[in-house]
C-alpha cells in the first residue's frame, strides 16, 4: 500500500527496497457505516488499518457504558499497528462517519519486521508519535476546561488535516457530530454545543455540521492553550 509508505516516510527514512516491500503487502478494503465497528477480517492476528476516507476512532467503554474516544485517525493515517506485537487493550476501532478502511495483514507485517530493521524502527517511531498525541490528550482531559478542550481539539485537527492551517479563513471537513466531540473531550453533548457557540460568537472558530472554519487562528490557539510541538508534521 503506497499510502502506508507515505505515512511512514513522514517521520522515517526508508530505502526504495523497503518501500517496495511495504507497497507489496496484501490488503483488503472495506466500507464501514457510521458508528459501526471496523473489525479486522482476520480475528486471529489483528491487522493494521489504513484509513482511506472518512474518520476512524479508537474507542473504549466504561463498565457503566460511557464511551470515550481515545484517538481519531484521518485519511492517510495508519493505526492499530501496536496490536500486531502486543495487544490486550479493550479498545476497538469504530467509524465515526461512513469510512473506507484498508486492512494490512498483521501476520505479513510481522514477517517483514522479522527481516527488516528499518521498517521495524519506522513502525516503532510511528507509535512513539501517536503516543505523543495521546499524552497531549491526557493533559487536555486532566487540566483544561470545556472551552479550552474543544478549542485544543480543533487546533490539533486543523494541523493534522492541513499543516498550513495557521492562517485564518481556513476551512476543512471534520466529519463528526457534537456527541462524538463530547466523547473525545470528555464532556456531554449539551456542553459541547454551548462551548462551540461560545467559540463562534468569540470569532475564533465556526464548527457546523462537520465543517470547521477557522476565523482567527491565534485566538483559537490561545483559547485552546495549543502548541503544536507534539505533532510531527507541523511545518
Amino acid at each position: 500500500m503506497a499510502a502506508v509508505v507515505t505515512d511512514l516516510t513522514k517521520h522515517s527514512d526508508l530505502q526504495e527496497r523497503e518501500r517496495a516491500a511495504i507497497r507489496a503487502l496484501p490488503t483488503f478494503s472495506m466500507q464501514v457505516q457510521r458508528e459501526q465497528e471496523a473489525r479486522s477480517p482476520d480475528l486471529v492476528v489483528p491487522d493494521a488499518c489504513l484509513v482511506v476516507s472518512g474518520l476512524v476512532g479508537s474507542v473504549a467503554f466504561t463498565n457503566e457504558g460511557k464511551r470515550q474516544i481515545i484517538a481519531v485517525f484521518i485519511p492517510g493515517e495508519v493505526c492499530n499497528i501496536g496490536s500486531i506485537i502486543a495487544e490486550q487493550s479493550a479498545t476497538m476501532l469504530m467509524a465515526l462517519t461512513a469510512s473506507e478502511v484498508r486492512w494490512i495483514k498483521g501476520a505479513e507485517i510481522e514477517r517483514l519486521t522479522q527481516r527488516n530493521l528499518a521498517i521495524t524502527k519506522a513502525l516503532w517511531r510511528h507509535l512513539v508519535l501517536q503516543s505523543a498525541v495521546l499524552k497531549e490528550w491526557v493533559i487536555n482531559l486532566g487540566r483544561r476546561f470545556a472551552r479550552e478542550r474543544v478549542a485544543h481539539l480543533l487546533c490539533e485537527m486543523a494541523c493534522r488535516y492541513a499543516p498550513q492551517a495557521k492562517k485564518a479563513g481556513l476551512e476543512f471537513t471534520f466529519p463528526v457530530t457534537q456527541e462524538q466531540i463530547a466523547d473525545i473531550v470528555g464532556l456531554t453533548p449539551v456542553r459541547v454545543n454551548q462551548t462551540l457557540r461560545s467559540l463562534r460568537v468569540a470569532n475564533a472558530v465556526d464548527f457546523r455540521r462537520g465543517t470547521v472554519k477557522i476565523l482567527d487562528w491565534d485566538k483559537l490557539a490561545h483559547k485552546g492553550d495549543f502548541t503544536p510541538y507534539y505533532l510531527p508534521y507541523s511545518d
Copy 2:
C-alpha cells in the same frame, strides 16, 4: 543493567546473548530530590531511565502553569525509551519522591537496536504496553468521577506494585502526596482529600501518608470501574 532485562523479559523473550548485551550497557546512577526534575546527563541524545527506588513521573505543564502527571514509574520500570528514536514532546521526568534513577545511554541503546532485532522489538513492545496504560488514563480522565478516578488509580498501582494484590489486607507504599494524586487524576488536592476520606469510610481503601491499605479489593475495584486487562503483569 540486569533490572532492564528483568523489565523487558516480563513481556518479551530474549536470548542470553541479548540479555548480556543489555546488561553490559553503560549506566549512570543519580539521586534526585523530591519534586526535582530528573534530567539525563547527556543533553544531546536523551537517555533511557530505570527507576531504582522512589517514584518517578512524566509531567507536563499547561501554559497556565497547571501540572498534569502523564505517567508514573515504580522501581524496576524503564521509561523514556521512546525519546531515543523520536521525541519532541514537552514532557519531562520528575521525581515524585526522593528517588534513585539509573540512566542508560540512549546512543548505546540506539547502537544495540541497529544490530539486534529482538531487542528492538522488545523495546517497541514495551512502548505498546505503556501506551495501553496511557489509554486507560484517558478513559479515567474523560469519563469517570472523582471517586472512580482515585479508586482506579489505586487499583492500578496495587496491581503494579504487587501483582497478587487482589486479596484484602494488602498494604503497599505509594509515596505520593495528595497533591500529586490530584495532578495524576486531574482534580484538586482538596477534592482528592475528600475522595480518599469517602473511600476510607466506605471501607474500600485507606491511603495515608504514602501508604495504601486495601481494605476490600472487590469493593475498590468496583468503585474504580477497574479491570486489569491492560496491565501486562496482572497474574
